[in-house]
């Protein structure tokens, strides 16, 4: 701009200035004049800032009016006076005084046979795992005292990750310190706001939390219904054909579980993989219940379904069931899994798994590897035997949900026996305790969309349950239901 020249190192004579203006071409002066007018106009423009917009005569309340509104405002109490769920609260008081293995002792001295916890491979109480954990405790202490980024990485963590990757035949594994947070952190680190996730409608709550945290569009398909899923995928594909530009940047995922905790059945992984490649949708499988329980050697749903593990983009699992410690992991190709080391919230911003628990998990995994599926096969046969006997002997008394070889089964009172309500099932569990059996109802939060319409007792089978233990379970179920039906 001719006029606004800094006079730092240039000494313009005033006459030179005027001469310069006169000698400039007209269009230049007109242009600059317009610019100045434009800037001045902008300065006096009405502000579009939302906070200023509310201002204006009479729109903003005076302080006195505000104070009055504040005085009148009545918040709800922080916790509403919802009635105490005594049966649920009682479970906090029912404290075990021994390890929660195949049998559990309680403070009243009773020892119960455990059909309620996910100790599928009977690793709780295994001396080898306990000794390894104790050795680690004597070396590392208990806590890891920091997140993975800040000296919370111990050699046991690296070793366990390497071991997990090798066990599954994948490139990389990432270790989490809590089973619930594993899938709940994994999903939102890949799926973002405008992506689409196809999820089975009976997915567990941890997956639902992950879906919610991702803010993606969630499309639920009927449980294990690949035809319905294909229909939805087809619809989406047509939608994509109409909007190719948007489709190019919209990632799509399918999220399923290997063995559904809420139903006890197994996902049709082979068909899902076919759909994956046909519609170009990435496949995430949650394997908390299928690690160690499915597959010829306990390697989960991929081995069971005969699908190559390379065909699944990501496998996430909590190790709190079969491997009997705490934590979780995600395993897959380096391309997919490594991303979580910087963007998995539960990995980056949480203290790492206590090293003694990582060592215990490592030992448990070694045992699974060494056993080459022996306990897995035994578990499947025990589950199957139980299932057949349930169907044969308790026909009109209890209904069973779940695959025959699945170690998780859901029991419900048959309508001929009585009303299948939560209090009725809780009463059954209490009666079971008197008969020396530990049973539990499956618990859900109110917002869990994957919970069944009917409450149930969740049975968990241990590979070492003997025939007599199963026999006493069946005897109890039969006599209890018969007693109910008579009333």
């Amino acid at each position: 701009m001719l006029i606004f020249v800094a006079d730092a190192d240039v000494s313009w004579e005033f006459s030179d200035l005027i001469e310069a203006i006169y000698s400039a071409p007209t269009y230049h002066l007109v242009f600059e004049g317009c610019l100045i007018l434009f800037i001045v106009g902008l300065l006096f423009q009405h502000s579009f800032l939302p906070s200023k917009r509310r201002g204006g005569s009479g729109d903003r309340l005076s302080k006195a009016e505000e104070d009055q509104l504040i005085a009148e405002w009545q918040p709800e109490p922080l916790v509403s006076g919802d009635p105490a769920d005594e049966a649920l609260l009682a479970s906090y008081q029912r404290c075990a005084t021994s390890q929660v293995g195949r049998s559990v002792t309680y403070s009243d001295g009773r020892t119960l046979v455990n059909f309620a916890t996910g100790n599928f491979l009977d690793f709780i109480g295994e001396a080898r795992i306990r000794d390894r954990a104790l050795a680690s405790l004597r070396h590392y202490g208990v806590g890891s005292c920091g997140p993975r980024g800040f000296y919370g990485t111990m050699d046991v963590h690296l070793h366990l990750e390497e071991q997990l990757a090798k066990f599954y035949g994948c490139e990389e594994a990432v270790l989490y310190s809590y089973g619930f947070s594993t899938i709940a952190s994994a999903i939102p680190s890949y799926a973002k706001r405008h992506d689409i996730i196809f999820a089975d409608e009976r997915c567990c709550f941890a997956i639902q939390q992950g879906l919610e945290a991702s803010r993606s569009k969630i499309i639920r398909f009927r449980h294990n219904d690949t035809a319905h899923l294909e229909e939805l995928l087809q619809r989406q594909a047509e939608h994509d054909r109409r909007n190719p530009k948007k489709a190019r940047v919209t990632r799509k995922f399918i999220v399923v579980e290997g063995l559904y905790v809420n139903c006890g059945d197994i996902c049709p992984l082979g068909e899902l993989v076919k759909l994956k490649y046909k519609y170009k949708v990435r496949l995430f499988v949650e394997e908390s219940a299928s690690l160690g329980t499915l597959g010829a050697t306990g390697r989960g749903i991929c081995e069971e379904a005969g699908v190559s593990v390379q065909d699944v983009d990501l496998i996430a699992a909590g190790i709190e069931n079969a491997l009997a410690t705490q934590g979780g992991f995600v395993v897959g190709t380096k391309y997919v899994v490594d991303h979580q080391r910087l963007s998995g919230l539960g990995y980056c911003f949480s203290a790492s798994l206590p090293p003694m628990l990582a060592a215990a998990a490592s030992e448990a995994l070694t045992m699974v590897d060494e056993m080459r599926g022996e306990r897995t096969a035994r578990l499947k046969s025990v589950s199957d035997r139980l299932h057949q006997r349930l169907l044969a002997e308790l026909d009109n008394l209890w209904s069973v949900e779940g695959a025959p070889m699945s170690p998780i089964k859901h029991l419900r009172l048959h309508r001929c026996t009585g009303e299948n309500s939560l209090p009725a099932l809780e009463a059954a569990c209490a009666a079971a305790a008197d008969a020396g059996l530990l049973l539990t109802v499956a618990r859900y939060v109110a917002q869990d969309l994957g919970q069944p319409a009917q409450p149930s007792i969740r049975l968990s089978v241990n590979c070492n349950h003997s025939d007599s233990e199963i026999g006493s379970l069946l005897d109890f179920l039969k006599s209890y239901a018969t007693g109910l039906a008579k009333k």
Partner: protein, 534 residues
């Protein structure tokens, strides 16, 4: 308490400009290298999409990982450093080198011994021997390592109830409930307290677990300026007066979530303490509820270690929800929520973690319970709890005073055991991290995105396990390095209180506990645990 009102020294202009220039240069080089890699002139070591899924929509945007690929990757040996021993006062860091500037690591198998200023071990309970470890051993032998069921099913152990009772007593609340993961305690339990139609007033630098927990509740979230009660009051008034955004209906509840003391930013970066009395006054005046996350202050602040509530002498009943973690001061893992029995009963019934997640393993619970008992004076040598608290406070003030006197820009309050000092430039950050480890100091450095882009810093976490000799030695090393790297940016005089925090003062403070410290037993790293092969 009187020294909380000092303001942090602002970033000097020259350093800010030079730091920006460094990042611009790095970005330019990054683009050049990306270009060379794409055209094949340079080996491309980035993990790429496997062939089977090449035609799928790409998982990551290219520019998202620009920073990771070109800046972070080159100096990533400063983070995720593996250790082979207990994270006590000293540890052994596994040596590793990278033949290809950070793409892959090789482990020659040797380790470097260093003083541990990186782990959160405020009261020194991260020990592999002693009362806590013995209790954990006993618990492991009795209960095993895992439970396999949630608290609301059959996963409750005797030791959980004991721990909850002890925690409630320690904090002065009616009841408490414990969870196995600290991150999950925030992320999964906020939804039990507030939901749609409520408003959460969250500090701008809150920890990511609080951010995630707030998002999962479905409530409206409003952000207030960091540790600024005036801004909080303005936002409170606005929330009450104008209600929900579109419908103008009033909010049903308002929950204030101030920045957890010392847990600021994505990791704990600043070291300053939340202004609790003012926030409590505000909460009472406007009938809001207060959710206080004491992850870093429980056990570390206050005359008896009961956290920031104790530090200010406030009544724990004024805080509606007291939350904290066991990872930092108790040497364990997990978190707790404490408050009135009504609140805790509600959490027991509706917490996602209590209903779906497995319960806390017994050895962890035993470790925390023993640490609590030591602090309450019921276990361990007499006055052990008080000794640790005093040692931590003395260590923190002594270290901070020495660093101020060196001329570094040190952030944070006088009593905070987190001592960050500024480095600013990315190159110096990496140099400091590498040199300090070579000289036997394990310090954490942090940069973008955990801190604002020009405010990269190093952070020291003091512990009651550190001795004054360790601190003196470390300050000598920092002295040498800070001179070499020219990071003595402070243009101010050191604060007045630093003048009398000398070694003599520190020793006098500790004189009444004149027992010699238990030798920190650092076992050798060859312990039958396989290391990563080359």
């Amino acid at each position: 308490m009187a020294d909380n009102d000092h303001s942090e020294e602002p970033t000097p202009y020259i350093e800010a400009i030079v730091t920006y220039i460094s990042y611009v240069l790095l970005a330019v080089f990054g683009h050049i290298r990306d270009f060379l890699r794409n055209k094949g002139f340079e080996a491309n070591m980035i993990a790429t999409e496997p062939d089977r899924t090449k035609s799928f929509v790409p998982l990551y945007q290219n520019f998202e990982s620009f920073f990771t690929r070109n800046l972070y990757r080159r100096i990533r040996d400063c983070w995720n450093r593996p250790i082979t021993t207990c994270p006590g006062a000293e540890f052994e860091v596994m040596d590793r080198d990278s033949p290809d500037y950070g793409w892959t690591f090789r482990y020659p198998g040797s380790t470097t011994r260093a003083v541990n200023f990186g782990s959160y071990n405020y009261l020194g309970f991260a020990e592999s021997s002693g009362y806590c470890a013995d209790a954990a051993v006993a618990a492991t032998e009795m209960y095993g390592c895992g439970v396999g069921s949630s608290r609301t099913e059959v996963g409750s152990l005797n030791i959980h109830t004991q721990l909850e009772r002890a925690m409630a007593e320690y904090l002065g609340t009616e009841d408490a409930i414990v969870f196995p993961m600290g991150f999950a305690t925030n992320a999964l339990n906020m939804a039990a307290l507030v939901g749609k139609g409520c408003c959460i007033l969250s500090d701008e630098l809150n920890h990511s677990s609080l951010v995630l927990g707030s998002r999962l509740t479905g409530a409206t979230i409003k952000i207030f300026k960091h540790n600024n009660p005036a801004d909080l009051e303005a936002k409170l008034r606005e929330a009450i007066v104008y209600g929900q955004a579109r419908t103008r209906r009033p909010f049903t509840k308002i929950l204030i979530v101030p920045d957890a003391p010392q847990v600021e930013g994505v990791y704990s970066m600043e070291g300053s303490i939340v202004r609790l009395p003012e926030i409590i006054a505000l909460k009472k005046r406007y009938q809001a509820y207060l959710y206080l996350d004491e992850a870093h202050s429980i056990g570390a602040l206050g005359t008896s270690g009961r956290g920031v509530v104790d530090y200010y002498g406030c009544d724990p009943r004024d805080v509606d929800v007291l939350m904290g973690t066991f990872t930092k001061s108790f040497g364990g893992a997990g978190g707790y929520i404490a408050g009135s029995s009504r609140l805790v009963r509600h959490v027991r019934q509706s917490s996602h973690s209590a209903i779906y997640g497995a319960s806390m393993p017994a050895p962890v619970a035993a470790q925390i319970l023993t640490a609590l008992n030591i602090l309450l004076g019921r276990a361990g040598p007499p006055d052990e709890g008080k000794r640790r608290l005093r040692q931590l406070s003395v260590n923190a003030q002594y270290m901070r005073a020495r660093l101020h006197q060196l001329g570094l820009i040190v952030y944070g309050d006088r009593d905070s055991p987190v001592v960050p000092f500024m480095i600013f430039m990315p190159g110096k950050v990496a140099a400091f991290a590498r040199l300090s480890l070579a000289h036997g100091l394990g310090i954490v450095v942090v940069g973008y995105p955990a801190t604002p882009i020009i405010e990269a810093r190093a952070r020291i976490c003091l512990s009651a396990a550190h001795s004054l000799d360790m601190i003196d030695r470390s300050v000598q090393v920092i002295d040498k390095l800070s001179r070499l790297l020219r990071i003595r940016y402070s243009r101010r005089q050191p604060p007045d209180w630093t003048r009398d925090r000398t070694r003599a003062w520190a020793e006098a403070q500790l004189a009444e506990f004149s027992r010699p410290l238990a030798p920190t037993h650092v076992a050798s790293s060859a312990n039958g645990v396989a290391l990563i092969g080359a």
